[in-house]
């Protein structure tokens, strides 16, 4: 790395301090958690996660046994329940409806729930060894949906506060065009930029949240850490969680055709840890 790259990385860090405007971050209020049973062996995982979320946030926990059977449509009941809670915990694939093939899709029910639910959706994938520990150390992927990064962080904060550990992962994908007009007032071709500069950009992307979190960490009794990385956001998020085994948290675009929604979809499919989409 040259001195010029070092200089630019340092400058990006100071630029982050300059552009950091208060994000008015505060723990999200979670009053109700709904655990949805699909009648399979995934119910235990869903219960454990829902209980852990309810315990950490002091929320009321309710359980919904989704209608089953060949002609049953569980979605309306789930949407109703989601309207009453702040977080709905569901298994995916739902009802193991497509058996082995179900591992390749979230199932139609979950896809529709993600598009329509007013509540945040926590999707359970595989059994979680220690649900309480998993929920107490969430990992937020800021660039899954950068427009919802504050909401995602607020939700993760409400889970981590009171002694948990919160990791924010800010990424830059060097293979895609960088659209950070709000940060840099211009578009960049990442191929023209060194890894150090791109890392600096990743720090700028997380600047406001970093500042808010670090300033109030004591007040919220949380250990926040912000990590910057270059590459594919989904892959980096999974890699960052490899040893941590925390709950993955990200923003959720309700338009399933959007790039953000597809990224979130890919995250759930690739993850063996639960994913909370806000």
């Amino acid at each position: 790395m040259s001195d010029k790259d070092d200089l630019k990385q340092q400058m990006a860090s100071f630029e982050a301090a300059r552009i950091a405007r208060p994000a008015n971050l505060a723990p999200a209020v979670i009053a109700g958690v709904v655990a949805v049973h699909d009648g399979t062996d995934q119910d235990a995982t869903v219960d454990a996660l829902a209980q852990a979320i309810a315990q950490r946030t002091g929320a009321r926990l309710t359980t919904l046994a989704a209608p089953s059977g060949p002609d049953a449509d569980p979605l309306p009941a789930m949407l109703d329940a989601a309207g009453e809670g702040d977080v709905i915990v569901v298994p995916s694939p739902f009802g193991r409806d497509y058996e082995a093939e179900g591992q390749l899709s979230l199932s139609t029910t979950i896809d529709l729930l993600l598009a329509r639910s007013k509540a945040a959706v926590c999707v359970a994938r595989a059994p979680v060894a220690d649900a309480a520990a998993c929920v107490a150390r969430p990992v937020v992927g800021l660039q899954i949906d950068r427009h919802r990064k504050v909401a995602a962080t607020a939700m993760a904060l409400s889970l981590a506060k009171g002694g948990g550990e919160l990791l924010l992962l800010s990424t830059v994908d060097p293979h895609t065009a960088i659209e950070d007009e709000e940060l840099l007032a211009r578009r960049f071709d990442p191929r023209d930029m060194s890894p150090e500069i791109l890392t600096g950009l990743a720090s700028a992307r997380a600047a406001a949240l970093t500042a808010d979190l670090q300033k109030h960490a004591g007040e919220w009794h949380v250990e926040p850490r912000v990590q910057f990385a270059l590459g594919d956001t989904v892959e980096l998020l999974l890699e960052a969680n490899e040893e941590r085994c925390g709950l993955l948290v990200a923003g959720r675009d309700r338009d399933p055709r959007s790039e953000e929604a597809q990224r979130a979809h890919r995250l759930i499919l690739s993850s063996r840890w639960p994913v909370l989409l806000v």
Binding site: D3, K4, D6, L7, K8, Q10, M11, S13, F14, E15, A16, A17, R18, A20, R21, P22, S203, A207, A208, T210, A211, D212, Q214, K215, A217, E223, P224, R225, V226, Q227, F228
Partner: protein
Amino acid sequence: MTCSFVAIQEGAHAGHDAAGAGLGTLPMAVLGLVMLATYALIASGKLHKLTAALCGAIVCTVLGLAFGVLHDYDEVHQVLGKDIGVLGVIVGTSILVDVAGKSGLFQFLAVKIAKQAKGDPGRLFTALVMLTVLFVSLLTIAPGTLIVASLTLVLCRTLALDAKPYLVGVAIVANSGALVTFASGICTLMIGSAAKLPYLHFFAVSTPMALLTALVAWWVVRRSYRAELRADPATAGQRADAVAAFDEWAMVPDRRVFWRSAILLGLTIVGFATAQPLGVGLDFVAMAGGAAAILFSGQNPEDAVKKVNWTVIVFFIGLFVMIGTVEHSGLLQKAAGLLGDVSGGNVHVATVVLVLFTALTSGIMDNIPVAATMIPIVSTMAVDLPAAPLWWGLVISANLGGNGTPIGSISGVIALSALQESGGGKVSWGEWFKVGGVAMALQIVVVIGWLSLFTVLDLYPALPVGK
């Protein structure tokens, strides 16, 4: 005070069994030419300094063995072994500095201090100058200058100020910052290690000099750019708001690592100060600090080690081997004799000659080879002359000499390339001479006065026996 430099030479030769005795002048002349050619290549930039030093080392080793200057190849390892401590300090502190840098500790402090200026150009200049001295004293010149230069560019862009006066100021005072402690600069470290100068002695002799020369530089640069540093009262509120909006917490990715870095850095400084009384080397403290930094930061050791300035380490290895071989030929002892003859054996004159020679040569080329070459020379001169004025004179002049030209020190190179990179224009050699040259001239006058005062009043703390 007078003395016979023939005796000095003989005394110095006694320390090296080869040291030129009976070898004739041919090996000296040839090895001296190789060394000068290497320095010419470094100074001209025709060859990267690392390549030049390695080539010089290889040629000198071959010639040294051929001439019998080196009895066998093991002597090369002995030459390197003498300086292994310096390399250890560089590696250990580089790791610690990298971890502390990534924790946001220095960036946090930098913004906190810069905000105190409230956007006023004159006060901002003073704040950046102080920050440079502080950071260089803790981090050494290159990383310290880099952080302050980058902050300067961002602040100047935010406040629509001309970055040139600030960066020129940063470049010049950085060399004063390298004098604050034993470990503040690589040059300081090399000379301090060779002379076995106690860490705490720096606070008596060198630290006041660092602050005084920084004050001189502050005054010269401020005076040279007084128009650019004048504040427009109409925009004072706007500027104050713009600087106040900087949020220093945005640069702290992990509070735990932030506080741990601060504690480790503090402990390392205490370790440096107490290493000699405890009977361990500074390299031990630096390595312990570096290891603790990796252990407590959770940082990938591979990443931390990558940040060590391996170019400097390899450059040093080449340089030490080359100079060690030349020293064995007896040439540097001859040079010491020549310097002694010029001074007539008077310590005041010898110090002044040494300071002027070192300052001037350090302005022309990288001060590290200058210091490395001067160390055996001063070591020889110090056999009969009082050692303290010579060693302190070498420490101070090797660092400040870089202010004479825009390429004389790494801080100048970093700050001026930052200025150019940011579109802030160039600083011509003429412009630099008017500012840096004048600053260096005044600083050298102050240094000579200070060292003379110490000599006359016998204020130098006693050096360990044998130095």
